[in-house]
Symmetry: C2
DNA sequence: GCCTCGGTATGATCCGGATCACATGACCAA
DNA sequence: TTGGTCATGTGATCCGGATCATACCGAGGC
């Protein structure tokens, strides 16, 4: 719950590139919030008073049903959360911390006002939202594929530049993103490699043929 | 490729609710484009000259790799397509028609200008994008679940009002949205019904307990 | 030093959803 | 009327990914 002053925006943007669209006046009023695993940050029904951007750790938007079932509506391990909360009177989900971590809070009214008055920020924000839609829709198409190899190749084709992809996270994390167990990922990657379809050199993966 | 004048916006908004955010001046310059299955609408590398909104049929954004593989980056059976194309110089995908259908074209420069000059439209557009992000992320969480029952219940919990959901499309379409075969959906729905977890009355599905 | 924890990696087994097959009914057109 | 198409269902089989188990390694803590 501590704030460091002044915030080191250079390193913040490095750890969370989505934040580079934020204009100076918002940067100066942003506050760091540290959270602990299991903590409830906001509850359903409360008015959203801040835009949130996860810097480290995992935040979940959770909806609890009357029957007591708990479903995860959104999970974030980095980047803005609940962008739609800007337009709504109250949260429609609980906001929970799944791990220890840190997030950035921007006062909602200032965020809204910045969007209204700053045309540059506005178009960057629209572009960021549109790009997020694009990325998540691609992720969606990928998850609709059955078969580990298809998902891996879809990821490579969609994300690789010139047929070469450099993994930035661990393979376990990649497996989770692909909706696979890490075992299935290791095995399928090994098979694709044996069959000459891809080459694997550490974190760099290349497609040879599809 | 025919245009009807004047466009009947009342019925258009009824068939595609996302369009209700469009202001009058854009409505008056929108044109209907009819497309045929297999048709290539735009090619990678071309500058995007219009915002597209699918009214009927299926449009796909397809990326072809050097190896000849073809992956679907986005599929749309209704609603805006390639919102991120507004911010980019050229299309990064081919735009193909998967079926016969109709879409609405808005000249890109007019769309951009309307966003710039019309504060009301602008906030509606931002809200729509943010809501799209929310919906697609929820869809994502759902597809990350293994097991047909879990996906069905997640959908019910997330989309149902008061534990009751009225299906607007066919069950086959629902199955596809859930990333399941229709057989798996029918069977699991029947099992959940037998076990008293849900009740099914035609298009209305209710959760009893989870 | 030792010990734990997390990522990497592979083997064996099991199960659930994909697949194939088939029947029915609605609807539309020739 | 007939034939075709499509959504709705259900049954039988198969396969691939989940699951459980095990091992190795490197980093960090004590």
């Amino acid at each position: 719950m501590t704030d460091e002053f002044p915030l080191d925006w250079e390193s913040i943007v490095r750890e969370q590139p989505a934040l580079d669209v934020i204009p100076g006046r918002l940067r100066s009023i942003a506050r760091v919030l540290r959270f602990a695993a299991g903590q409830t940050l906001y509850r359903r029904g409360e008015p959203p008073r801040a835009m949130l951007c996860v810097l480290a750790g995992e935040i979940r938007l959770v909806r609890r049903s009357a029957g007591g079932a708990e479903i995860i509506v959104q999970r974030s391990r980095g980047g803005f959360v609940a962008e739609a909360s800007m337009g709504s009177k109250v949260y429609h989900c609980d906001v929970l911390a799944a791990t220890d971590g840190r997030l950035l809070r921007f006062p909602m009214h200032a965020f809204r006002q910045a969007l209204d008055s700053d045309a540059g920020f506005r178009s960057l924000w629209i572009a960021r939202l549109a790009d997020e839609v694009r990325k998540v829709r691609a992720q969606n198409e990928r998850l609709n594929l059955h078969g580990a190899a298809e998902r891996i190749l879809h990821y490579l084709e969609a994300e690789a530049a010139d047929g070469a992809l450099t993994l930035t996270h661990s393979r376990k994390a990649w497996a989770a993103e692909l909706g696979l167990t890490h075992e299935a990922l290791y095995r399928t990657l090994a098979r694709l490699s044996r069959e000459g379809i891809v080459t694997v050199e550490g974190a760099v993966i290349r497609i040879r043929r599809a």
